[in-house]
Every structure is written in structure tokens, then in C-alpha cells.
């Protein structure tokens, strides 16, 4: 498990990246996907993920739609057109940042 700080700082980027690749996803799906990709190393909690999602919705980056699935309501998140652009920028920014971080770490 990685420290909360590291995850918190990159959570938005993670969500945007996943949504830009998979189109629409629901909250649990996102946590599972992250778990899967990181080989169980990164585990997003309910308490960390949902505030981020709601924040993104408020900012107009993502939009939601609800569906009736298996006797319950499921809320799907997907990028808005503005969100796609935000995602691109965020991912780009992350790459640059990590490159710089690497430079600092190996110097």
C-alpha cells in the first residue's frame, strides 16, 4: 500500500485516464480496475474515490447516467467533451511531472 498522500495527489489523473480509455464506468468498477492494473498494490477506498468523482462532476469534467442493474441503481460516469480535453492535459502533465521526479530522484 502506498501512502495516502501519493494517491490523493494523483487520484484525479487516475480516474480521468481510466474514463478516457473505457468510456463509461461506475465507481466500484474504477476501484477494481485500479486494483487489477496495479496488481493489488493500489486500493482506492470508497471514501477517497467518490468525493473525487463528485468534484469532477461539479466541475463539468464528467457527466453521470443512472441505470437499473441487478435490483439496484447504478451510476455511471463518463467524460464530457470538455472532460476529454482535461483528461488529455492531466495525463500529459503527469508524464512531464514524473519525468522530472525521476530526474530529481536519480541525480
Amino acid at each position: 500500500m502506498y501512502s495516502k498522500e501519493l494517491i490523493r495527489g494523483t487520484l484525479k489523473t487516475i480516474v480521468l485516464k481510466l474514463l478516457s480509455e473505457h468510456g463509461r464506468m461506475y465507481g466500484y468498477e474504477i476501484t477494481q480496475k485500479v486494483k487489477e492494473i496495479s496488481s493489488n498494490e493500489i486500493n482506492l477506498t470508497f471514501g477517497a474515490l467518490y468525493p473525487t468523482l463528485h468534484k469532477l462532476e461539479k466541475e463539468g469534467v464528467v457527466t453521470t447516467s443512472s441505470e437499473e442493474v441487478d435490483n439496484r441503481t447504478r451510476k455511471y460516469y463518463s467524460l464530457t467533451s470538455q472532460g476529454a480535453e482535461t483528461a488529455r492535459l492531466k495525463i500529459e502533465e503527469y508524464y512531464q511531472f514524473s519525468r522530472l521526479m525521476n530526474l530529481i530522484m536519480i541525480s
Binding site: G27, Y28, F46, G47, A48, P51, V69, D70, R72, R74
Partner: protein
């Protein structure tokens, strides 16, 4: 996959853990279900999996939860934005109503602010001196006469005695008027319109006069020095430096030379010194100098001039007054005819403690104005509430849909409050602009010193803000409360928009509005009635075409008789008489009078007259005769009294009764019909008229009756005559009718102001009515169309539209008539001579109300009634 029952179980658990937001709750259920599903799929039993999952998710009152809740709520900024948006939409959708609301509120707030500022101004009098809470004026109660009279002066001897004997008094000064309007010369220029007073060295310190030039605080170390106010200095010396200059005043044949040693900042208008025209009261000399000017020697038994004291900290005014009284008796060497008491200086203007002295401010009138201010605001708020609830019957759908979507009751109330606040804020801004424009006009016409104090006066701003809040609450709370109360299904039922919202309550409010309007109209009528009554009532003398020419005390004895005999020679003069006080002065001097064989003198009012006074003023004899030249003893032994005198003493046959006035013995020659020698606020009191030696001191003026035509030419001739006899004195005259009108100036101001405010209130009411009728006509368009198709006449429809209001007006009349009657009865009690409340004013008030309401709604009703039914029915 979980069964429906399992999901329900999860739902219950999540709900019990309490995340209040709906969408968050759903997501949590889904999340938990997914996790449980996975665990069940890998073989765990459901219950086990569920409790583990719930355990792993932090719920309850920790920080995550709070963050979630915060996020899930729509932020208050968003809500305010939405409130404002809806409010603006409503403004532009219901333009007429919004305009009426804003206009009405603007008028009423303007009135309210002006009344508030006036109130503040009236309360600000004499509050700005240093240590004002320890500053008192020494007033006097006279024990002469049947009722104790309050006088604002004290003996000239008093202040030095207090300074010697009463250590509790920290500072003290008399303010004794020493010279009025004698020619004051500087270089080649002469000035008249001023008053010069003698004060002690304490005075500038007590009042806090600020030096601008020279030294005001230590001005009186030498004799014959003078200090003057900035504006007075500017008037006399212009741009020149006044310090060290000498001004000359000729007085009693003496040439007085005063050296200017200081100039002080003008006092503000809100001071009782020199009431209304402070600049007149703006030359101050030391007490010693003023004693040197006049020939009067101060005595304990004569009182003249005000006296002020500043007490030590923590000293009781009552005790000091007691000491002063003891001091007066001790110094006088025996009992004296008066007693002193101390009146706080800040109380002089409004006279809140209701001492028996006259005051310029009128607390009763102030209270009435406050009441009117409240009434006007309430009327405007009633308009708002009425229009909003009426309009809301159209808005019911909006309210219904919002409710279905999940708006809470509080949000509705807030929505309506926001709309009300926006309206009242906008109106307040407009009102402030109006007030700003009005203030210069008001200050100039009513000699006030109002100011809005937008910059720097924190209290005023706070007041305006509070006003906006109160108005917003009054306007917005009820509509919001009422509309949100209605059940949603009723709101959404089609056709329910035809129901008017809050019909009965609205009727009550309209009736209330009518009631206040009728009350105000009736009050205005009664006030106008009384004003007319006072200006038309037979005064007992003929005030028209009479001028009074004041005689200076140096002229009166020497030249009075000469001037009089010259005047009666003029062709334009019908009659003239030497006399004492003018009938427009508001009172007469008092003398001790003994009648018949009585032994104790009573202080009664006396007036010095001459042979032709009766003819000049047009007095009528009741019995006996007037003074006559044919009886040589009349001048020394004759008295003429009025009816009130006869009544006062209960005399059966007054003619020939012995009477003595201040030791002058004689008998009563005749009785004149009562005439108003004071204003109608006062009862006609007993009066004794006597003659003086024409060449002695005691005639203060010449009353002249002019022929009705060529008045100005005659006045010119009189002036020429005057200049030929006493060229060094200015010729002054006053028309008696104008002077008498002065008595009623404050009443007339009051009447004018009252009229303006009531018209404002009535206009605002009419506005509301217009809004309501516009709305009713609109809502009933279809009904009117159907009726017309079925054969209703225009008249019938007009009746239909107006009968509701007619009924309300009649109900309102019932309520308002007793209220108006009682209120005006008590107002009329201010006047000793008054019109009764005559019934016709109520009828007239009702008729005016009917007329006004018909005028304001007639056109709209007519338009609705005459409209083409095809148009009305085609809608939809």
C-alpha cells in the same frame, strides 16, 4: 447476482448508517452490493461478506463522511445564484407588478428615511457641547398670578452669586441680550440685523467655542472687547483681518467702542441659542462690558437673560437648585416671587420632561410623523404581499413543480425572501437618491440641517440596512410561507391556477389599506379645516391693513409722540395709535393688578394703548366706553378690560370699579369684546389696557391702519417722515396679518408635511389597487369573455369587477371612522379654539377614497369590460 431481498437488506443497513444525500446513498448501495457480490461469488456466505464490507467502509461521523456530505449538498453559492436567477426572471415576467412594488416601496422608503433623518435631527439639538450631561439652564417658576408661569430667564445678579457661594457649580454664565439692532459701524459701513449678548468668561469654555482667529477662550480679560462668529466676522469685515479692529455702536446717545479679540467657529443649526437664525446671535461681550452698556442696574426682583451652569461630576441638579433658591432668598434678604430649577440643556429643544415652558421642538408631532412613516411602509409592504400572493396563483405551478422535484419548504421561503430583498434593496437605492435630491430643498424651506451622512455616518447606514431587512421580511415571509404550505397535488391540479392565493387574507389587507387611507384623508381634511378656521376666525380685531412700527427705547419717549402726530397727518393713514406690544408678539407684559377692594395683587397681562387704538385695530366695546381725549383723567386713571377679565373676577357691573395696576390707581371705563391677543393655541386671558404719558417710556410701537389702496406709497411717505425725525435709525415695519401668520407657521408646516405624507401613503395604496385589479382582470379574462358572449353588458361587468372593492371600502370606512375621530380629537386639543370634528369630513373622506380608487382602477376595469370576447376566448 444478489437477490432483491439481499439488496433491500443492504439498503436498510446503509440507510441506518445515515448518509443523507439521495444520490450518494444509491452509489454506496451499489458499491457495497458489488463488493458483497464478489465475495459471495468466491464462496463467502452473504451475511459474513456483508458485515465485513460494511466494516471496511468508513461511515458515520468521521471526516470522510462530512466531506461527502458537504460535496453532495448543492453549495449555498449555487443556491443563491439560482434564487437570484429566478427572482430576476420573475421581475421581467411580471413587469407591472414589479414596477408597482418598486415604485411603492421607493416612495415609502423615501418618506421613511426623511422622517428618520428629521427625527435624528430633532434629537441632536444641543448635544454637542463638552460635558453636555452636566450642563443645565436655570429656569424660573413665577409664583405670581393664579397659575405658575415658567420663564427661561434668571436675575442678572444670580451668576456672580453662584460663582461665589456654590462650589458644586463648576462653570456658569448668563447670556444676557444687551444690544439688538442698533447701528453697528465699522469704517464706513453700518450693520443692523444682529444681537449682542453679555456672557461670563466661562461661556466659551462651557459651550466649547473653537477659536479660528485670536483667543476666544481668554477674550474677556479687558473691558470692551468682543468676540464674534466666523460668519458674522465675514459679514462685517469681509476678507480683512478682524483681530484688533474696533466696531462702534451708538447706544443711548453713547458711542461704544468694542475691540475684536477673537473669532470662533459658527455653532451648528441644531442649537437653541438664537433659534433658527444663529447668525443673529453672534456677538459676545463680557458681562462687565454689557453691564457698562445698559443703564439698568441688576436687581434680584427683575429677571432677564438666560443663565447656564455646568455642575461638578456626580452632583445632583435638584440639590443645586435647592441651594440656588436658598442663595437667592439669602441675598435678596427675604422671600421673592420666583423659584429656580435646572433644566438639562439637551432637553431644551424637545422639552421631553414637559416642564411648563414652551419649546420649539414638538414631541407630539414627531410621534405622529413616526406613526405616518410606519403606516406608509406597512402600506407598501401590504401591496407587495397582495401582489405577490395574487400573482402566485399563476406561480402555483412553478411552486408545485419545484416541490415535486424535491425543493424544501425552507427553500421556497428563502426564494420569496430573496425576491423581496432584491426589490427592497433596489427601492432603497432609489429612495436614497430621491432623499439626496430632496434634502437641499427641505433644509432651505424648513430651516433644518438634515444630512444623509452617507460617508462616515455608520449609524445611518446601519439604519438603512435594518430598514431594508425589516421591509424584506414583512414583504417576503408571508407569501413564501403561505405558498409553500399548499399541498403539492392541489398545486398541480389543472385549473387550480384560477384559484387566487390567500384570497381572504388579501381582502383583510386591502381593507386595512383602505382603512389607513380613509383615516389619513379624514385627518388631512380635519387639519385643513382647523387651519382654515384659524385663518378665518374672527380675531376680535381687524388684522388686515395694519402695520406695526417698532420704536426703539431711545426713540419711544423722545420722539414717539412726534412720530405719531406726523404719521396721522399722512393721507394714506386711516388711523394710528401709540401702543405697547404688538398683537403679533404672542404675549403681553405682566403687571400686578388689584380690583375693587381686594388686597392681594394678581399678575395679569397689560397693554399700553392710546385714544385711537380701538379704531386702529377695529376693537368692539361690549359695555362702557373707550379712552377719550374728552375726559382729562382717562390717561392717568382710566382702564379698559376685556370680557375674560370680567369673567375671571366674576364681576357683575365692572364699569366704574376701582382698579390699580402696579400702584397706578384708577377705575374701569369699559369692557371690550374678547380679542385674540395671543395665538389660538391659548385661551383668551384677562387683559388690562391702560394709557401712558405720551412723552414717557412705555410705548414700544405705533400701530397704523393704512387705506387699502396705495399701501406701498403710504409706506414710503411714512418712511420719509421717519427719516426726517430720526434719521439715524432704520425705518422698520411689520404687517400685523403676516406677523400673526407666524404664530401658525409651525402648524402650517405640520399641515403641509402631513398632507405630503398622506398623499404619499394614498398614492402607494392606489398603486397596489391598480396592480390587484390588473391582475384580477387578467385572470378573469375568460370569465368576462363568456359573460359577454352570454349577453352581459359593459356596465354589468364593471359592477362585477368593482363590487368586491366597494364592499371592502365600506368595511374599511367602519373601522377607520372611529380611529380617525379619536386621533384627531386629541390633536385638536392642542388648540384652545378649534373646529369640532364635523361629520361631513367622514363622508367627504369616503367619497374621496371611492373616487380615487375608481380613478385608479376604472380605466383598467373598463378596458377589461370592453374587450372583444372573441380575443379572450381564443386564448389557449
Amino acid at each position: 447476482m444478489l437477490s432483491k431481498g439481499q439488496v433491500n437488506h443492504i439498503t436498510r443497513i446503509v440507510k441506518k448508517r445515515g448518509i443523507k444525500n439521495f444520490s450518494m446513498e444509491e452509489e454506496l448501495i451499489d458499491y457495497v452490493s458489488c463488493e458483497v457480490e464478489e465475495r459471495v461469488a468466491s464462496g463467502e456466505p452473504f451475511d459474513n461478506a456483508l458485515s465485513e464490507v460494511i466494516e471496511s467502509i468508513p461511515m458515520g461521523s468521521n471526516s470522510t463522511n462530512r466531506e461527502l456530505e458537504k460535496l453532495s449538498k448543492t453549495s449555498s453559492m449555487d443556491m443563491i445564484q439560482s434564487y437570484l436567477k429566478v427572482a430576476l426572471r420573475n421581475f421581467s415576467r411580471y413587469k407591472i407588478n414589479s414596477a408597482i412594488n418598486i415604485f411603492g416601496l421607493t416612495i415609502s422608503l423615501t418618506a421613511c428615511i426623511i422622517i428618520g433623518l428629521y427625527l435624528k435631527y430633532e434629537h441632536s439639538f444641543d448635544k454637542h457641547y463638552p460635558e453636555v450631561d452636566r450642563l443645565y439652564r436655570i429656569n424660573t417658576i413665577s409664583n405670581l398670578g393664579q397659575t405658575p408661569a415658567h420663564i427661561t430667564s434668571a436675575s442678572w445678579n444670580l451668576i456672580p452669586a453662584i460663582q461665589e457661594d456654590i462650589p458644586e457649580v463648576e462653570a456658569s454664565s448668563n447670556v444676557t441680550l444687551t444690544i439688538i439692532n442698533q447701528p453697528l459701524k465699522w469704517k464706513e459701513k453700518a450693520f443692523f440685523d444682529y444681537q449682542l449678548s453679555g456672557v461670563t468668561a466661562d461661556f466659551p469654555i462651557m459651550i466649547g467655542l473653537k477659536s479660528i482667529m485670536g483667543d476666544v477662550q481668554n477674550a474677556f480679560s479687558n473691558l470692551n472687547t468682543v468676540i464674534l462668529s466666523e460668519s458674522r466676522a465675514l459679514m462685517i469685515f469681509g476678507e480683512a483681518d478682524p483681530i484688533g479692529e474696533s466696531i462702534e455702536i451708538s447706544m443711548s446717545g453713547k458711542e461704544l467702542k468694542l475691540e475684536v479679540v477673537g473669532v470662533y467657529e459658527d455653532l451648528p443649526t441644531n442649537t437653541h441659542f438664537g433659534y433658527g437664525d444663529w447668525t443673529k446671535f453672534s456677538l459676545l461681550v463680557s458681562r462687565e462690558t454689557s453691564l457698562g452698556i445698559t443703564n439698568n442696574t441688576p436687581s434680584w426682583s427683575s429677571i432677564n437673560g438666560s443663565s447656564y451652569v455646568r455642575l461638578n461630576k456626580g452632583t445632583s441638579a435638584k440639590e443645586v437648585a435647592q441651594k440656588i433658591n436658598e442663595l437667592v432668598v439669602r441675598r435678596n434678604g427675604g422671600e421673592i416671587w420666583y423659584e429656580h430649577y435646572l433644566q438639562p440643556i439637551s432637553d431644551i429643544h424637545l422639552n421631553k420632561n414637559e416642564y411648563g415652558i414652551e419649546s420649539k421642538g414638538n414631541l407630539g408631532q414627531l410621534r405622529l410623523f413616526v406613526l405616518i412613516g410606519i403606516i406608509i411602509v406597512v402600506i407598501a409592504c401590504i401591496n407587495y404581499v397582495n401582489l405577490t400572493t395574487a400573482q402566485a396563483s399563476v406561480r402555483l405551478k412553478e411552486v408545485g413543480i419545484r416541490k415535486v422535484i424535491g425543493a424544501r419548504r425552507r427553500q421556497f421561503i428563502v426564494q420569496f425572501l430573496v425576491e423581496a430583498t432584491m426589490t427592497s434593496l433596489l427601492s432603497m437605492v432609489l429612495a436614497l437618491v430621491f432623499v439626496l435630491l430632496l434634502i437641499p430643498f427641505l433644509n432651505a424651506n424648513f430651516s433644518l440641517g438634515l444630512s444623509l451622512g452617507l460617508t462616515g455616518d455608520f449609524l445611518n447606514m446601519l439604519g438603512f440596512l435594518v430598514l431594508v431587512l425589516v421591509v424584506s421580511l414583512l414583504c417576503g415571509a408571508y407569501p413564501g410561507w403561505y405558498l409553500s404550505k399548499i399541498k403539492t397535488n392541489i398545486l398541480l391540479k389543472t385549473g387550480s391556477s384560477a384559484r387566487s392565493g390567500g384570497g381572504f387574507f388579501r381582502k383583510v389587507l386591502v381593507a386595512l389599506q383602505y382603512a389607513t387611507s380613509i383615516t389619513l384623508i379624514v385627518a388631512t381634511l380635519i387639519i385643513t379645516d382647523q387651519m382654515r378656521f384659524m385663518s378665518q376666525k374672527d380675531l376680535g380685531f381687524n388684522k388686515e391693513q395694519v402695520v406695526y412700527i417698532p420704536l426703539d427705547n431711545r426713540i419711544s419717549a423722545k420722539y414717539g409722540n412726534l412720530l405719531y402726530t406726523e404719521f396721522i397727518k399722512e393721507s394714506g393713514v386711516v388711523a394710528a395709535s401709540l401702543t405697547g406690544n404688538s398683537l403679533g408678539d404672542g404675549g403681553m407684559g405682566g403687571n400686578g393688578v388689584l380690583v375693587g377692594d381686594e388686597t392681594t395683587a394678581q399678575m395679569l397681562q397689560v397693554l399700553a394703548v392710546d385714544d385711537d387704538f380701538k379704531e386702529t385695530l377695529g376693537l368692539e366695546m361690549k359695555e362702557g366706553r373707550w379712552f377719550s381725549n374728552n375726559y382729562k383723567t382717562d390717561r392717568e386713571e382710566g382702564f379698559v378690560v376685556n370680557e375674560a377679565f370680567v369673567k375671571h373676577y366674576g364681576l357683575e357691573s365692572p364699569i366704574g370699579l376701582p382698579l390699580s395696576r402696579n400702584g397706578q390707581k384708577g377705575k374701569i371705563l369699559g369692557v371690550v369684546r374678547d380679542y385674540h391677543f395671543k395665538s389660538m393655541h391659548n385661551e383668551i386671558e384677562p387683559l388690562v389696557m391702560h394709557e401712558n404719558d405720551r412723552n414717557q417710556w412705555g410705548y414700544w410701537s405705533i400701530a397704523v391702519r393704512l387705506a387699502p389702496d396705495n399701501t406701498s406709497q403710504t409706506l414710503n411717505q411714512l418712511e420719509d417722515t421717519w427719516s426726517a425725525v430720526v434719521p439715524e435709525f432704520p425705518f422698520e415695519y411689520e404687517f400685523l396679518d403676516q406677523k400673526i401668520d407666524q404664530y401658525y407657521k409651525s402648524d402650517q408646516y405640520f399641515a403641509a408635511v402631513f398632507r405630503v405624507f398622506s398623499s404619499m401613503a394614498i398614492v402607494v395604496s392606489c398603486l397596489g389597487l391598480i396592480g390587484l385589479v390588473t391582475f384580477t382582470a387578467q385572470r378573469r379574462t375568460k370569465e368576462i369573455g363568456v359573460r359577454k358572449v352570454l349577453g352581459a353588458s359593459v356596465g354589468g361587468i364593471l359592477r362585477l369587477l368593482s363590487q368586491d372593492y366597494l364592499k371592502l371600502i365600506l368595511v374599511a370606512a367602519f373601522v377607520s371612522i372611529p380611529v380617525a375621530y379619536l386621533a384627531m380629537e386629541s390633536w385638536l386639543e392642542n388648540f384652545q379654539y378649534r373646529v369640532g370634528v364635523r361629520p361631513y369630513v367622514f363622508v367627504l373622506g369616503l367619497l374621496i377614497t371611492l373616487l380615487l380608487s375608481w380613478l385608479s382602477v376604472g380605466y383598467l376595469s373598463l378596458k377589461a369590460a370592453k374587450s372583444n370576447p372573441a380575443e379572450a376566448l381564443r386564448m389557449e
